[in-house]
């Protein structure tokens, strides 16, 4: 059987599995979404405030931390998995919790992977807003808290993209999920680890089915975000352009800038 036949068979089998509502496939998919969405939510809860502090704070070591967050965007999942495993190992510092090889352990590991991504992209998003934005909000009588909230609202699209990047990173990683989850059927098996196992067993159709579901999830999430962004952009471009066009809210443009 040639490679093309394998792929074709795999695709057909995958479609059959998905359409017939194969219980295993759907339970694996459900767990994948549950683990990765929870991890992304945790990463947003931690990463957005941290990224905001990195972008706006005036404290020693801010730049070093920013560089660290940027580096953290490329954390190898296997390395994260290794450290979380060591921490959660029965005789390790957090071993008493008995979390290793549970979905909770996978959420922890994936949150560790996604948090620096969210933080670094949040910092970048906020730094792209007009530098005078916060001062102007404060000049209108906003408290520091409300001004910061307005800034986050102003950067909502890049922040959405930050969350998306975090989710994309964890839903597709296999190293950490395998290490801290153990790929236990019905308990910690997610799409990526299931695909790896199926492939190693020669069950290409099954592996391709898992892969397709993964792709479909990624596409659905991206579609949602892209549509949201395009809708927003269309609002800003709907009216006829005037001669002196300025772009408030983006980087200061020449036209809006005064020289004195």
């Amino acid at each position: 059987m040639g490679a093309v036949d394998v792929l074709l068979d795999g695709l057909l089998e995958a479609v059959r599995l998905l359409l017939t509502g194969d219980e295993d496939t759907w339970s694996v998919t459900a767990l994948t979404l549950q683990v990765s969405l929870t991890a992304t939510a945790v990463a947003l809860l931690l990463g957005v405030p941290f990224g905001t502090a990195l972008a706006l704070g005036r404290f020693g070591g801010r730049r070093v931390l920013l560089a660290a967050a940027n580096t953290g965007m490329g954390l190898p999942p296997v390395v994260v998995g290794l450290f979380v495993t060591v921490l959660l190992w029965r005789s390790g510092p957090l071993g008493a919790l008995g979390l290793l090889y549970t979905p909770t352990a996978m959420v922890i590991a994936q949150a560790v992977i996604a948090t620096p991504i969210v933080a670094a992209l949040t910092a970048a998003a906020l730094q792209q807003v007009d530098p005078g934005f916060l001062l102007q909000m404060r000049a209108l009588g906003a408290t520091r808290m409300r001004a910061t909230a307005a800034l986050l609202a102003e950067a909502r699209l890049p922040l959405l993209a930050a969350g998306l990047a975090g989710f994309g990173a964890v839903v597709s990683e296999v190293g950490a999920a395998q290490m801290v989850g153990g790929n236990i059927e019905g308990q910690t098996r997610v799409l990526t680890t299931a695909a790896v196992l199926a492939t190693s067993r020669g069950q290409f159709a099954l592996a391709i089915a898992f892969g397709l579901v993964l792709l479909a999830i990624a596409f659905a999430v991206n579609l949602f975000v892209t549509l949201a962004q395009q809708r927003e952009e269309a609002k800003g471009a709907g009216a006829p352009a005037t001669e002196e066009r300025t772009a408030p809210g983006s980087r200061p443009s020449g036209a809006a800038r005064s020289s004195s």
Partner: protein
Amino acid sequence: MGISCRSLRVTDRGRHRLAVDFLEVADGETVAVLGPNGAGKSTLLRALAHLEPAAGGEVLLDGEPVPPAQLRAAVAAVLQRPVLQRASVLDNAAAGLRLRGMRRARARLLARPWLDALGIAHLADRHARTLSGGEVQRVAIARALAVRSRVLLLDEPFTGLDATTRADLIADLRTALDQSTAAVLLVTHDRDEAAALAHRTALLLRGRIRQVGATADVLDSPADLECARLLGYTTHLPSELTGHDVLLVARPERCRLVVPGGAPARHGVVVAGTLRRVVPLGGTTRVDVDTAAGPIAVLTTTEVTTAPGDPVCVAVDAGNARECPPRDAAPIEDTA
């Protein structure tokens, strides 16, 4: 009652940028702070709004010192470069109220009349990113007015606008301010803006207020040479030319060129010199004349028939010449 400041000092890396002993803006009054670029006008405005830390002194509301939070709540400022939110014009106009905790629907309701007052009601649903520079300024001003704060601070709200847009906006702003009881401080480098909008004007030079009074009085009678320059009295006639005890200054457009031996100025002064050059500026003509005490400039709308190198006299009528103390006031570093 209104906003005032006492002994307000702002420093930047040890250097004084601002030292204002006293300035008051009463409720319902508009005060212009007129000064050249870099005089500390924006610094003063930001210090009054507690947006910039002051090294000393205090800002008073109704004569009483107030904590920063209370002061900020009483103040709305339009900063030099307007920054709008990524939202519709109406939502931007409502932003000041929203930032003070008001619900969106109510904020939009209260903001709408101000769009009308600033002539941009038809843009209410437009996205802020599609506006022209003049429209952005109008939204920024409407947003600050909609807050109905006790104090309104305007930092060069007309910079970067073409002459027509600017004139229209000044007229609309004047009408809007006339209906308001806010204490308004307008920072500008343009004396026409001060003349059009302000009851009183303070001249700010190198971080210090040199002169303050009713706008018409201040614009008409500079206290010293630097103030004179700022107010457009750029033709200087030193005492060795005029025989007066002190330096006389005049606006170049109020000086006349006369041929030697012609009609003398009415109770004014005439100085002799040599015509150096004639520069047509479209409508007016600038004539530079070399005198024994240096060059002086005249702006005239009549045709200049004298040629460079010819002897010529510059006449200033008595009502157009101002006496100026010989020396500038001490710079800020010496006294602060």
